[in-house]
């Protein structure tokens, strides 16, 4: 190796070293920016000083009282009750919408019938209307069948979260599309019916996407507050967690409840974050599955 080439090599190496340093530094700065709000809300949830505005960034004293208040102070904003409401609604709407999504996705992916393409176009078109444009209309319909009073509100919420679930089949369909058709055909040769193929072959092969669908459907009631607000109106007994947290930031509560809000945010974010990080692979796969040319 001549001296010249060696020199070039070392200069290329230093240049690469500098670029790498720069890239990692930039990524570090960006990650800090991205995690800053999360870090801040965790800090706030342990802050002993009340009120939303403070003069220092870090809390002066730390405490666990915010969490205790959140789960024990049931007089004004009954967080445990809201938690139970959301849990009940989430369980039922998750069961129904998972069933709907898997049925539609399987039909769209595996069966060929006249209404298939029209239905897919319809799903696309309906997705373009602003979601809550029909929210008021849904409210009137539910009211007309008597589901907006008392404990029927829970039924109404379940319907709102799962009624239109059949339209969100794209990710599951993308997954079903990747299962080789040869598997189905082999089963048909052995005399299996389409129903048997669906329940005994496709479902067991699709455990990941089934889990993904269940989890996303379960999360929806925890993070939506617009629909819940319209359906529950002033009936605080049936509030879900999201409305509760939203109310804690309203003018009359914010001074007393701000730190408790942060605690509540942490409480519902942790399980959702765990679920999300564990299932993000399917999100990415579903996206690339749905757009594979």
């Amino acid at each position: 190796m001549t001296a010249n080439v060696k020199k070039q090599n070392t200069s290329a190496k230093t240049r690469r070293f500098i670029t790498n340093c720069f890239v990692h530094a930039a990524l570090a700065v960006l990650s800090v920016i991205w995690l800053f709000p999360i870090f801040w809300v965790v800090l706030t949830s342990f802050r002993a000083e009340k009120g939303s505005y403070q003069t220092t960034f870090f809390p002066k004293t730390y405490t666990l009282n915010n969490y205790i208040k959140l789960f024990s102070d049931r007089t004004i904003l009954d967080f445990p009750q809201m938690f139970m409401n959301t849990l009940i609604v989430a369980i039922f709407s998750c069961l129904i919408s998972t069933f709907f999504v898997l049925c539609v996705a399987y039909c769209m992916s595996r069966l060929r019938f006249k209404m298939r393409k029209p239905f897919m176009n319809l799903a696309l078109i309906l997705g373009m209307f602003p979601g809550f444009m029909c929210m008021m209309a849904v409210y009137y319909i539910l009211k007309a069948i008597g589901l907006t009073e008392g404990s029927m509100i829970r039924v109404a919420l379940v319907i709102v979260y799962s009624g239109g679930a059949g339209l969100t089949f794209y990710i599951a369909k993308g997954f079903f599309d990747t299962i080789p058709k040869a598997v189905d055909e082999a089963a048909f040769l052995d005399g299996a019916t389409k129903w048997q193929v669906f329940t005994k072959i496709t479902m067991p092969l699709s455990k990941p996407i089934v889990v993904y669908t269940i989890l996303t459907a379960f999360i929806a009631p925890w993070v939506d507050f617009i629909f819940a607000k319209v359906i529950c109106r002033a009936d605080a007994k049936y509030y879900t967690v999201a409305i509760g947290l939203w109310r804690m930031l309203e003018k009359e509560y914010i001074d007393n409840w701000y730190t408790a809000f942060a605690a509540g945010a942490v409480c519902i974010s942790i399980p959702i974050a765990i679920v999300f990080v564990a299932t993000q692979r399917f999100y990415a796969d579903g996206m690339s599955g749905a757009v594979k040319g």
Binding site: Q54, V138, Y140, G164, I272
Partner: protein
């Protein structure tokens, strides 16, 4: 067009309503009048009785309330609730008046029922003709149990699609039609039309689209900002998200998983929580201003949500915080799918990093991610959460119904929920849809993933 014909041919069947009229025998034609008659006379008794039961229940419904609902639809009611003096009891009683909202709802539901009934009616005619056809050709006529069994095999789609379809019809499509029909009425607080209202034709559309009316002026300015917002929010998210994905995917970047985890964690926190936190952080006395003041960088609080330009830039920037992780997540997988030979041959030809990016990476990503871009654009036009939770549309000029950062959707919300202009809200919903539908269908139908759905199987 050719494709459409081919599709029709794929699912061609001899059993149509037309054939039932032309070639049907007496029993088949009788089932146009008495549904299920053809099936019963040809031997499919249970199926025929089911059809008959459906017809009877529909007729009962029509007689009991359906007919009244339809007859009230053109006028939407005229009688106000009144106090009537009851002589015998000596008190005022409330005579129930008409409620246009309910009349309209019942009318729409009845029309829905009628359409459904017509479909069932057609299917009964087809089914009767099918029974006749099979019998005439000496083929086996399936009994009821065989029909039920076929639902689990060749007709599985009917079994699986029916429950979801019922859900979609009654809780997505019907409300939508109900809302759309409101756009043609004067259902609003103006002139007190909250209980009784009438059809007004295209009046509301004229009002919203005119340049002289105050609502019209607001509409055009809100539409302008919505489009600017959607273009910036989609474009910047896409570009920055892709750059980030490429940087993380570089061969020399260490701990790739960790970086990805950091960014993904921000989506994992529910959006309304993180946005509400952002909002409080950016208040005049919020954490950001406090931090900057403590560092001595600024004297006065930055006007994040009070100055128009600041507010608009703030929502776009925060939307980057929300949106980039999503782009990162979906771009990562696609980046790893780009064939490496392309890069190698480019390297041999002496292309530098920029040339490879613009000649290979970008075209490939654009090709694969066009549907994603379209859905993101539509999602941003309808991005209620970010605007409503962050700025609530503020700053709002005095006397206007829309703020300077209001999108069409948040304005729709304010018009209906805060101001009770239900008719105008419906018009805006329809116009939002028209803007999106025209754009998306044109682009989407051109993409590979729509045309060539089964290409990779």
């Amino acid at each position: 067009m050719r494709k459409r014909k081919k599709r029709v041919k794929d699912f061609a069947t001899p059993y149509t309503v037309e054939a039932a009229v032309k070639k049907g025998n007496f029993a088949t034609r009788l089932s146009f009048l008495i549904m299920g008659a053809g099936n019963i006379l040809h031997g499919q008794v249970i199926k025929g009785l089911l059809y008959l039961a459906m017809e009877i229940s529909f007729l009962v419904f029509m007689v009991r309330s359906g007919w009244y609902n339809l007859s009230m639809l053109p006028s939407l009611g005229w009688m106000l609730q009144e106090e009537v003096w009851n002589e015998s009891k000596g008190i005022f009683e409330y005579a129930q008046g008409h409620n246009s909202v309910l009349l309209l709802l019942y009318g729409v539901v009845t029309i829905f029922m009628v359409v459904l009934f017509i479909l069932v009616w057609g299917s009964s005619a087809k089914s009767a003709y099918k029974a006749q056809y099979l019998k005439e050709h000496g083929k086996h006529l399936p009994g009821f149990m065989e029909d039920v069994k076929s639902l689990f095999n060749e007709n599985l789609q009917k079994l699986l699609m029916t429950p979801p379809l019922i859900g979609i019809l009654s809780f997505t499509i019907m409300p939508l039609i109900y809302m759309i029909s409101m756009a043609f009425t004067n259902y609003s607080k103006i002139d007190d039309h909250l209980v009784l209202f009438d059809w007004v034709g295209l009046e509301n559309f004229k009002k919203v689209l005119s340049f002289s009316d105050s609502i019209g002026k607001t509409f055009w300015s809100v539409l302008g900002w919505t489009l600017v917002w959607a273009v910036f929010a989609t474009g910047l998210n896409y570009i920055f998200g892709m750059i980030l994905a490429i940087v993380i995917n570089r061969k020399d970047t260490r701990i790739k998983g960790f970086w990805r985890f950091c960014f993904v964690l921000s989506i994992a926190v529910p959006q309304f929580v993180s946005l509400l936190i952002m909002r409080t952080m950016l208040q005049p006395d919020g954490a950001v201003n406090v931090l900057l003041k403590n560092l001595g960088l600024i004297d006065q609080s930055l006007p994040f949500f009070t100055n128009v330009t600041w507010a608009r830039v703030t929502v776009i920037v925060i939307n980057l915080w929300v949106g980039i992780p999503y782009t990162l997540l979906s771009a990562t997988g696609i980046l790893q799918n780009i064939p490496t030979e392309l890069y190698e041959s480019a390297k041999v030809d002496g292309a530098n990093a920029f040339v490879t990016f613009f000649k290979i990476t970008l075209p490939y990503m654009l090709f694969v991610m066009t549907p994603y871009l379209i859905t993101t654009f539509a999602g941003n036009v309808n991005n209620f959460n970010v605007i409503y939770l962050l700025s609530s549309g503020h700053p709002t000029p005095v006397g206007s119904t829309a703020g300077k950062t209001d999108l069409l959707v948040t304005w729709l919300y304010k018009l209906t929920v805060d101001n009770q202009y239900f008719n105008l809200g419906a018009v805006i919903g329809i116009l939002t849809f028209v803007v999106l539908a025209v754009m998306s269908l044109l682009t989407y139908r051109k993409t590979g993933s729509y045309k060539n759905e089964e290409g990779f199987q």
